[in-house]
């Protein structure tokens, strides 16, 4: 039956979403793993929702998005910093 694989994906998405939210509180390394968990959770939840729209799939989708966004915000300092780090070294000398 198609319902069981999609239930598995939905549950996995929910678990990964919750894990990604928790990992925000573990510093930069936690944020990296949280980001990875959140991204995988989003993909699994979307697949589950497309196959079979359930409350668990929706909850997993929402938790994964929240976890991913919070990890990304906590992790990202600045974008397009090409060569900027060399300037930091030069300016501090």
């Amino acid at each position: 039956m198609n319902e069981q694989p999609s239930n598995g994906k939905a549950i996995a998405g929910l678990v990964l979403g919750i894990v990604s939210i928790v990992l925000i509180f573990f510093g930069a390394y936690g944020a990296i793993f949280g980001l990875i968990c959140g991204v995988v959770g989003i993909i699994l939840s979307i697949k589950a929702r497309n196959e079979n729209l359930t409350g668990i799939a929706t909850a997993g989708f929402v938790c994964s998005i929240i976890g991913t966004v919070l990890c990304a915000v906590g992790f990202v300092a600045c974008a397009c910093l090409l060569g900027g780090l060399a300037s930091v070294g030069a300016s501090l000398q």
Partner: protein, 239 residues
Amino acid sequence: MAQIQLGPIVLSSYAFFALCGAFACLIYGLFCIPKAQREQSAYLLCYAGIGALVGAKLLYILVSLPEISAHMDQWIYYVSSGFVFYGGLLGAIIGSVFYCHEFHKDSYGQTNVLVPMIPLFHAFARIGCFFSGCCYGAESEFLGLPTFSVYANPMETNRIPVQLIEAGMEFLLFLFLQFYKENRLYAYLVFYSIGRFLLEFWRGDPQRGIWILSTSQWISIGIWFFLSLRFIQSYHHTK
């Protein structure tokens, strides 16, 4: 002002303005995406967002590889602080195409309405760059604004506000795409690549390219070359 304090929460300026951009895109989506299409658009945007994150980071790592390999003990700092817009754009396009292919959706129908979100989000992100002090412009007493950037040398001087100029260009592109509704992605790429190519001459970052042009300028040339080939191909096809 590299950080913004909202009560007990301290956010980097870039993260704050990126969130503002995401919120603006949400408002745009609520007004402009047909109701029947919203759910699928949300899923497509998730795939595009993941692609953008991966693409922007990978291209940054690729062009910064010599610097990162020379400071492997600080890899977490280098990996967390850098993205390249063109890498993100390419990643978003790949993510969108992958989503439409996997779930058998019409890629043009699904993505055309979402394209204006690119310049809208990017405009806010560039304002965030200005306040963060990254992607700074060249020094100029005549055209510059007083700026402070921990990434620049000297840190405090008058610089051309290329971040704000690009943000203005992106807002204009967003407005243009409200009136031009066919093949919006091509239209956006045509105008953005020209603007980016020209603005790169006013950037003050250290040399970050190949030979006389920056990485982004070479990519802009590549985009124009690709679009020209597609135009010639479609012209011959309709003939």
